[in-house]
Amino acid sequence: MTEKITKNLALELYRKMVLCRKFEEKVAELVNKNEIYGTTHEYVGEEAVAVGVCSALRNNDLITSTHRGHGHIISKGGDIRYMFAELLGRVNGCNKGKGGSMHIADPGIGILGANGIVGAGVPIAVGAALTIKIKKMDNVVISFFGDGASNQGVVHEAMNMASIWNLPVIFVCENNQYAVSTSVKYSLKIENISERSKAYGFEGKTIDGMDVLEVYNNTKEIVNKVRSENKPFLLECKTYRYSGHFTAEKILNLNYRTEDEINYYKSKCPILSFSTKILNDGICTKKELDDIDNLVINQIDEAVDFARKSKSPEPSDALKDMYATEYTGIPQKGWI
């Protein structure tokens, strides 16, 4: 993993991570002001995983995402204007205001949907990989899931099927160490979730998910391997979320993590450590990074502005988009 990083790549990884971070900070602000309806699950702290993985993909590679999915969508090329519009429930949101934070889908750029049900996207990713195999295409599927999802039965079923059918899917476990309030120290008897890959008959690896370069380089190598060998792979990225499980968790006062622990991981911030590294290595200048920060902040302000100016759907649009092949009489309204 000593491949020399080019300036373009370094700046792009940095830009995407900052975009993920600033996006989430803005989202939290809008949730707290009740401008975003409901709540969201912020990706703050985990940016290196989504950015590292998705930067190593082609446009036509597919992903399934999770409830904590904004970072995945942004990293795969999602347009934050339509993401903000979705979060504000507007008609030109990614999902026309019908999905909200946990369900952003954009098949045009390979996003088969984020998912509000933990683990549910994993067999869907395997199904997409089955299509790739049957249609003899050469793209791959990434299935993001968390340490919590690793204990869902359907994830086990999906990994086993991917293995016996030799499918081009990479299971990316974002182990942020907590399933809501439950620590992996409680829910797992093994140190690394990647060890489970052995039981299915394919390879696995655990890496530092706070290091974007490590994630990027590993993913590059694994994607090539999976593409050429048509075998699944389980890549576990150890990471940490700085926020609660969801935006307003603080008020619940759950205290399942110590301040010391949170501060420790904040000191390993993926953005700060990466910028320090590329500055120290002389790959870029402080000014170049500052310029990116400013660009991102402007981009976010413009996107929020775009979303705010977007139209709300008609309430009766609630009865649209249910079926691809339509029939009169369905869906039914709940009244006459």
Partner: protein, 321 residues
């Protein structure tokens, strides 16, 4: 026109679709050797890439079907036993059925669930005898339950060609029945019911294998001077309301004869619709004959006690006169 078994009609519909469209694949447990007989011999023609045996992983294989459908295939998933859908509930109603809507119409999941033997076949007790379609209807999933070989072939083709998830319940008690079926491929549109027998005194809304029983009953009661109309919705969702209302308005009396559970079952929904839309035409209350709200018991006498049958139908019809 040939006289063939229901099961053969189903098999033929699927086989022909696989020949016509290379995106159609069949995924399920024991589909290579074909425990149910629907896909017998398919492996030799279409190979293991399109006749895909899965491990015992009902939730997982349902998710695989969704992912395959989202990305360009048109999978047909076989569930050997209707209760297997319970394993897959999240993947059916929370994933496949919701993804299109929740994506604002961006995603499309053209997947068919072939529930290869639904209902009580006798002696299989509580976990192999359900008719669980109300659960899926509740979620808005398109659902068909053909009662004849002819309907089975035409409806399955429509289900496969439909761009949404469609559940196809094959009543276990119909699989061994025979009927006339054309050799060529044809479709019966979803949402089109059929009056299987015209009558003027009472409408029996009947589904699945109970259609045959309703027809036999109608014939028997003819001599007693009761003229029974037999309406078979064929598709449970979307329901052919127009044809139903026409029949009810003509006869003014309705019995809903359905082999799913009573509470919030299909019969409950049909009864509610009729009372909302045809109230002033009714000469007597809508009656339901359903299975009892208990797991199907093993003992044969208890089993027939809880299931809808001809005897119960005749009794309720006579009571309404």
């Amino acid at each position: 026109m040939r006289n063939i078994y229901y099961l053969k009609a189903v098999s033929e519909a699927l086989f022909n679709e696989m020949e016509i469209n290379p995106d159609v694949v069949v995924i399920g447990e024991d589909v290579r050797y074909s425990l149910r007989g629907i896909t017998k011999g398919f492996i030799d023609i279409f190979g293991p890439d399109r006749v895909i045996d899965t491990p015992i992983s009902e939730a997982g294989l349902t998710g695989v079907g969704t992912g395959a459908a989202l990305s360009g295939l048109r999978p047909v998933l076989e569930f050997q036993i209707c209760e297997f859908i319970f394993f897959a509930f999240d993947q059916l109603v929370d994933q496949a059925q919701k993804l299109r809507y929740m994506s604002g119409g961006k995603l499309k999941a053209p997947v068919t669930y072939l529930i290869a033997s639904s209902g009580a076949r006798g002696g299989m007790a509580g976990q192999h005898s359900d008719n669980p379609y109300p659960y899926l209807l509740h979620s808005g999933m398109k659902t068909v339950m053909p009662s004849t070989p002819y309907d089975a072939k035409g409806l399955l083709v429509s289900a496969i060609r439909d761009d949404d998830p469609v559940a196809v319940f094959l009543p276990v008690n119909s699989l061994g029945t025979k009927g006339d079926v054309p050799e060529e491929q044809y479709t019966i549109p979803l949402g089109k019911g059929e009056i299987k027998k015209e009558g003027k005194d009472i409408t029996v809304v009947s589904t699945g294998h109970l259609v045959k029983i309703a027809l036999e009953t109608a014939e028997e009661l003819e001599s007693s001077g009761i003229s029974v109309e037999v309406y078979d919705p064929r598709t449970l969702l979307p329901l052919d309301r127009e044809l139903l209302f026409k029949s009810v308005k003509k006869t003014g009396r309705v019995i809903v004869f359905d082999d799913s559970n009573r509470t919030c079952g299909f019969a409950a929904e049909v009864s509610a619709i009729i009372s909302e839309e045809c109230f002033t035409y009714l000469k007597s209350p809508v009656r339901r004959i359903t299975r009892a709200d208990v797991p199907i018991p093993f003992n044969a006498q208890m089993e027939s006690f809880v299931l809808p049958d001809k005897e119960k139908l005749i009794k309720v019809i006579l009571k309404n006169f």
